[in-house]
Subunit: 312 residues, 4 copies
């Protein structure tokens, strides 16, 4: 592209006057990221394990730290880390409940902390042969939670990621428009595979977070399996719809689903047919399908999403 094309642009969001403005601090946050917390509950011989990766970030009046290097209001990130561990002494319970306790602590203890963003990943463990204190990691998915506090408002998002699913049939893709650059053949039988990343926002805090997580996970898997797919978009919408139908406490759900292509290998040059048996699983590029499924008449976009990467 030549510079001329750019110069001719009439759509540029130019803001000539703005460019002359005084340079100031805009939105900011800081904290400690990826605090690796393992909490063993050992009140009886039958231990339980909770394994989290916690991030704490504070919002508030931190301007002088930026402009003058004045740290008098900067709750050290090391202190935030210590607080994560100290609060864990009283138990975790669920990532959502734990983040709520962190948010309350920091906003109540420091006048100038007006809010913040707290996030966690939780990793699953299963007992080895029902053993009392021996476990193996279930790596097939990761549970996530994000809490955004803005003054008196609390936005709470739960999620799941890294959940890889595949259908070996029951997926079609045809009827798409064909232009100069279209070479893709239509198909009525393909492999459909994706890594499910989903995040849902609660409209109440009165939730049994562990139960709802288990239920949403089950619904997402079932809907993926049961939907005869004409497009990954269709499967995705159905997955979200079923979650919202079952869970009135969920206001909206966002999903980001890569279309992990499995290409049928052409065995004809070797004198072999290939009736959807032998596939090449490709890495890149991949399709990327993203959407929000929500309740009609939802209020404006929650601020929590601006801080939640990877979703439209």
């Amino acid at each position: 592209m030549t510079a001329t094309t750019q110069e001719n642009s009439t759509h540029a969001p130019a803001a000539d006057g703005a460019a002359g403005g005084r340079i100031v601090l805009g939105r900011n946050q800081y904290g400690k990221a990826e605090v690796r917390l393992v909490r063993i509950t050992r009140d009886t011989d039958r231990h339980a394990i909770e394994d989290l990766n916690v991030t704490s970030q504070l919002h508030g009046d931190f301007e002088s730290a930026h402009t003058e290097g004045d740290n008098s209001k900067v709750v050290a990130t090391d202190t935030q880390k210590n607080t994560v561990y100290a609060l864990a002494k009283d138990g975790v319970g669920s990532p959502e409940a734990f983040l709520l306790r962190l948010g309350t602590h920091f906003t109540e203890c420091f006048d100038w902390v007006t809010g913040g963003r707290w996030a966690a990943e939780q990793y699953g463990w299963e007992r080895i042969n029902d053993h009392d204190h021996a476990f193996s990691r279930n790596k097939s998915e990761t549970r996530t939670a994000v809490l955004l506090v803005e003054g008196a408002r609390r936005h709470l998002v739960a999620g799941i990621q890294d959940l890889t699913v595949l259908k070996s049939t029951g997926s079609e893709f045809h009827g798409f428009p064909r232009d100069r650059y279209t070479t893709l053949a239509e198909t009525t039988d393909r492999i459909l595979a994706t890594d499910v990343t989903a995040r849902w926002r609660y409209n109440t805090l009165d939730v049994d977070f562990n139960s709802v997580y288990a239920s949403v996970r089950r619904i997402l898997l079932d809907a993926f399996a049961q939907t005869h797919s004409l497009a990954l978009q269709q499967t995705m919408f159905q997955m979200g719809k079923e979650v919202l139908e079952a869970h009135p406490e969920i206001q909206e759900i966002k999903m980001s689903l890569p279309n992990k292509h499995h290409f049928l290998v052409d065995l004809a040059p070797f004198g072999l047919d290939n009736p959807n048996e032998v596939f090449f699983a490709a890495d890149r590029p991949y399709g990327l399908i993203e959407a929000t499924v929500e309740r009609e008449g939802a209020p404006e976009e929650s601020a929590v999403w601006a801080n939640t990467p990877g979703f439209c």
Copy 2:
């Protein structure tokens, strides 16, 4: 946290009525991610190489694909990939210019495509001993670009990431508040290290993108090196301020800087002193310092950031 605490909450963003609303499709986008494009310019014996990772996502009227599996408007992600390669035949020039061409193509060619999000990473290559056609990868940083098109509006963000810097002195941290959970000692001499991720938004498209990128990169490095740091926040703000002072075409810059802790090893048990010589470079947790530096009186938050992960 006990359930009681949650039940007592009066801050919950409850939306009882909303929970009963009809379930509908909200914001959505789709496309092809991570199209790996290498473009060789070989008009003369002295070749040039451009190496990009391109993602194309379309916005528009795709509701029936979600609700009915009707693909009649779904420009196949495979077609989007083909288009990336076809347009590259005419050259790349810069990631920003290339994304602008992609955005124009898709919005002009398909009535129902009202916008989209196009993004690219660009990887650097250097000549081996000034050789005409042999190169080695410079992995010390990655250049990024994001274009968001919303109807007639184009939001363009350039960036740099993976740029790791360190000062072995000239960094202090003290004067921070001490509460029950504070154990960190004050220091007047520590290592300061971070991975610079910065993204800046242009207020015009009339930009020599390659020159400005090189300039911003240089300013970020210089400001990091030259600033005697009382807080990483202060260093970060100074870095952003210098970029905006030098570049009126940049409206705002967002930075996300991990504080990569280097802990002084206690050698006293071994009868050795350690005057800031031997350090343990920790992985996790790490501080995470994020801010926007902007021109006063900037208009409302650009929609481009909602789709740009990792920034407050």
Copy 3:
């Protein structure tokens, strides 16, 4: 270290004469790595899935390719990839069986191919709610296999990796020697956690590979869980011993076990005790414990291990 110290070395494996020798090609191999193969068995409505990552490398007379660029004997790596897919048409069965077929193919079809190294990772999938053709990935472990063919000899190694396990009690560590650099406290109750990587070599090919894999996996988990550990070395040896006791067809087993440290957090500064409840899960450094458990009187080291990274 000063140069003097090096010069004074009398242990240097110096080989002055050797340094003057003619420069020649030594051991070499080549092929295609990481061929991603997904094989769907769909003889009935109840599909099965096998998901592998296959590497094929040939040994033989390839000297002229190296010294003269003569490719007349170079079976193209693209051809090796095609062969993987073509042979998969007849089914996979187990990674071991599939590698044996690949090895036989290449050594029988090309006179100058005297052997080779074939390797595979296999990824697990589970049915979603017993669905006929919908699956979710079990990421909690990876199955591996390596076949080394040297003329008429076939060395076959099976393995498991990425299997993360943890005991929340039942692990001690004390009685170790203390020197000038020892600061570690003794403990009678710590968390013991590791990622199991194990590889076992068969002394026969007459094996039901899938059954033995499942059995070895179960034994490794049980032995980890059941062993009251005084040292990770002890746990590791016990794990290997139980595998060999149960499986006469296994000649030796090698394990590489990181000691994934979980450090008890000192909550005393916050006025809290911490009776093995709150831990920091560290990333690096980590202990690394490796050993072979074998049958006495085993013959010389199998050549297969030289090509199998990560084991002593």
Copy 4:
């Protein structure tokens, strides 16, 4: 493959008698892995930085730890970590020199430690604008070193990895055999790209390690650039040959070079030609070309390679 095929095998390295042998501990080693060490030299205002990732593993009489959980000879991995930091107080100098000091320390201080394996990665840093104490990471390559001590013998291997290079022309590939499974077209002009991993073994310890590293790196780059390639094997052999010709202190060099495929995109369906301009850079599968270049009459295979992953 059917079980029958396996049963019929006459090549199986069966060892019926062996299977009945007593189960014993074979080769073993243990230690601390990935000790992240940053050493600042600040004797003057112009600081220097050395950044390493060090692994220490001991060999010796550790049988009772495995068989009885007796730790009386187990130099704690924590002690090994402490020793790395304590010895760094006296400087690093080069990864090779530092590993030699570690090896001497452990084998001299503990009677039952008869040897060990010490390894390091070193990360490069460059001054920012010739600043005295501000640096940026050069991520374009990683320097490696491995020391194996077996009693009085020391095997020392230096290396480079992650060095990515590409030629946009000057690479051909034709004349390879064609069988039933061959579909690859011959070419006289393709992109040749690889990530150089090389490891060379010294035949003396009387080496200026930093100078030789810089020289080998330069030779590898130059040889890659200058060689008109008929096969990646040819380029690789030439690279190794030039290193050995220039450095009599190097006994052998092993290289592992992925053939990073760049596929010419077929633009013909779009009415465009593509004279080697637009390429798709593929991830997997990739070619993998490995060889040793050595001096004729070299003694038997050095034991160091058995512990050095990734090389034939």
